[in-house]
């Protein structure tokens, strides 16, 4: 359980995050969507204990984020894969757990590599893996840590759309199978809707939550959901929130018109 209580983060004059209140329940898949600079990454970093809030507090499983870090209760996945280039895939999966001081579990690391579809690539170095495969290793690494909470900061941001959609289906399946709590930050509206049980929409300047959607799509979620009408409607609903918040000046500057 994550409790975000009145969190504000300012950098000099920039109000990156402004009084955000949010609770993430155990086992929930929450997505945070918004344009660049809306503070969604900063908010995630406060939950992971990587960014100290200027005011307000974050509790993870009832404790401070520092305590959560010390207990390795948070598995982080970054936009860049952050694999160590001199280690093989299976060594990279094992690395975070080792750094957290948890007992080694080589068999578990191999099992997770199989789970993310990388059987046979155990000894491959990152340079020999595609962008999507590297992120699969990074996801396996975060799960292997054994934390209940996974924080994902645009993990598919550098991947092509087809790979993103496939990984979206897989991350939902893994989340169910491994019983995790996920906070997933993205700037892709379809991705945010497809993955979410609940989708939080943020806006910038100052970075704040403007709307929260409960996503009602079939569970378990398969790739069929992408082409369903319900999916398209909910994507449209999130989009309309993001667009209505635009300033008049921005709308006037748009030269796009209906044909």
């Amino acid at each position: 359980m994550i409790e975000i209580d009145g969190v504000t983060v300012t950098f000099d004059d920039l109000r990156a995050v402004e009084t955000v209140d949010l609770t993430v329940d155990d086992g929930e898949f929450l997505t945070v969507v918004g344009p660049s600079g809306c503070g969604k990454t900063t908010l995630l970093r406060t939950v992971g204990g990587l960014q100290e809030p200027t005011s307000g507090s974050v509790r993870v499983n009832g404790r401070t984020t520092d305590a959560a870090r010390a207990n390795a209760e948070i598995g982080y996945v970054f936009q860049r894969h952050t694999l160590l280039p001199w280690k093989s895939a299976v060594e990279n999966v094992a690395f975070l757990r080792e750094m957290a001081g948890k007992p080694a579990d080589r068999e578990g690391a191999r099992r997770l590599l199989r789970e993310v579809g990388l059987e046979g690539f155990e000894s491959a170095r990152p340079a020999a893996l595609s962008g999507g495969m590297k992120q699969r290793v990074a996801i396996a690494r975060a799960i292997h840590l054994g934390a209940e909470i996974l924080l994902m900061d645009e993990p598919f941001g550098e991947l092509d759309e087809i790979t993103r959609e496939r990984l979206g289906v897989e991350i939902r399946r893994l989340w169910r199978a491994e019983r995790k709590t996920v906070v997933f930050v993205t700037h892709s509206v379809p991705e945010a809707v497809f993955l979410a049980d609940r989708c939080v929409v943020m806006e910038s300047d100052p970075g704040r939550i403007v709307e929260t959607f409960d996503v009602d799509l079939p569970r378990p979620r398969t790739d069929e959901a992408y082409s369903s009408d319900a999916f398209q409607e909910q994507v449209a609903a999130v989009r309309s929130v993001l667009h209505e918040d635009r300033s008049n000046a921005a709308r006037a500057g748009s030269t796009l018109t209906e044909p």
Partner: protein, 260 residues
């Protein structure tokens, strides 16, 4: 991460060995032909076999002096390299130290260290200590600058990853920072060792008691070109051996990758 492809761990073909050896053979033959065809007296340009005979005629002399030079390189180079590594580690952790020291490291690098030698003679005198300090000074700069640059290669997100599980500073250093720095560390090490050999020869000209540099100086004063060339040949062999040691260590320790 450029410039590392094909260095350690690459396979060696027959041509890789045969072509340089062929080049050496042709150069030696040309030397021979020049001596035979011209009127240059042998005391000014002895043929290659005469130089070889000088080495083989008194191997003890060369072994003794090579050992003296190697000792200076090992002690002086070791001191300079260790100090350079220690300072690189320190400035990678302490921002204030980095800001206080780094500009001067870059500036002093352009100073020809040889110019400092006369000053050392006045301060420390003509002994082994002067040689060690001088060689250490020369070996220090490439080591500290390369290693410091290596530590800068650690991506910020990698540090965040370790912070996210509260990894200890020693783990972070040994498992993340040092491996990232190790290719640059070896680049610095190669420069430092090469410069340390140069430093040793210069030190032997100044301190002038033993070593291959001293042998060259002695041969020069007596116009013994064959002895001089023999000493130079042994010096090349010594330099190559030291360089080779580092390359062997590098092959064992450095990870290879074309993409980070």
């Amino acid at each position: 991460m450029n410039g590392r492809v094909g260095e350690p761990g690459s396979t060696v073909t027959v041509a890789d060995v045969a072509l340089p050896l062929g080049g050496l053979a042709i150069a030696t033959a040309a030397w021979w032909a020049l001596v035979a065809a011209s009127d240059v007296p042998p005391y000014l340009l002895p043929p290659p076999d005469a130089v070889a005979a000088v080495i083989l005629g008194n191997p003890g002399l060369f072994v003794r002096n090579a050992a003296a030079t190697a000792e200076k390189v090992a002690i002086g180079g070791g001191v300079g390299i260790a100090a350079g590594f220690a300072l690189a580690v320190s400035i990678s952790r302490l921002q204030w130290l980095r800001r206080a020291v780094y500009p001067y490291l870059v500036t002093v690098r352009v100073l020809p260290k040889i110019a400092v030698a006369p000053l050392l003679l006045i301060y420390i005198g003509t002994g082994m200590t002067t040689a060690v300090v001088f060689i250490g000074l020369i070996a220090f700069f490439p080591m500290v600058l390369s290693t410091a640059a290596g530590f800068e290669r650690v991506p910020a997100e990698q540090r965040d990853l370790l912070r996210s599980v509260d990894a200890g500073p020693l783990d972070a250093f040994l498992r993340l920072e040092l491996p990232y720095a190790v290719p640059d560390l070896f680049a610095g090490l190669k420069q430092s060792v090469t410069l340390a050999v140069i430093g040793a020869v210069v030190a032997e000209w100044i301190v002038a008691d033993s070593g291959l540099g001293f042998l060259v100086l002695l041969a020069s004063e007596n116009v013994q070109v064959d002895l001089m060339l023999a000493a130079l040949a042994v010096l090349v062999a010594l330099g190559l051996a030291l360089y080779g040691l580092i390359v062997v260590a590098q092959r064992r320790l450095v990870w290879t990758s074309t993409a980070g």
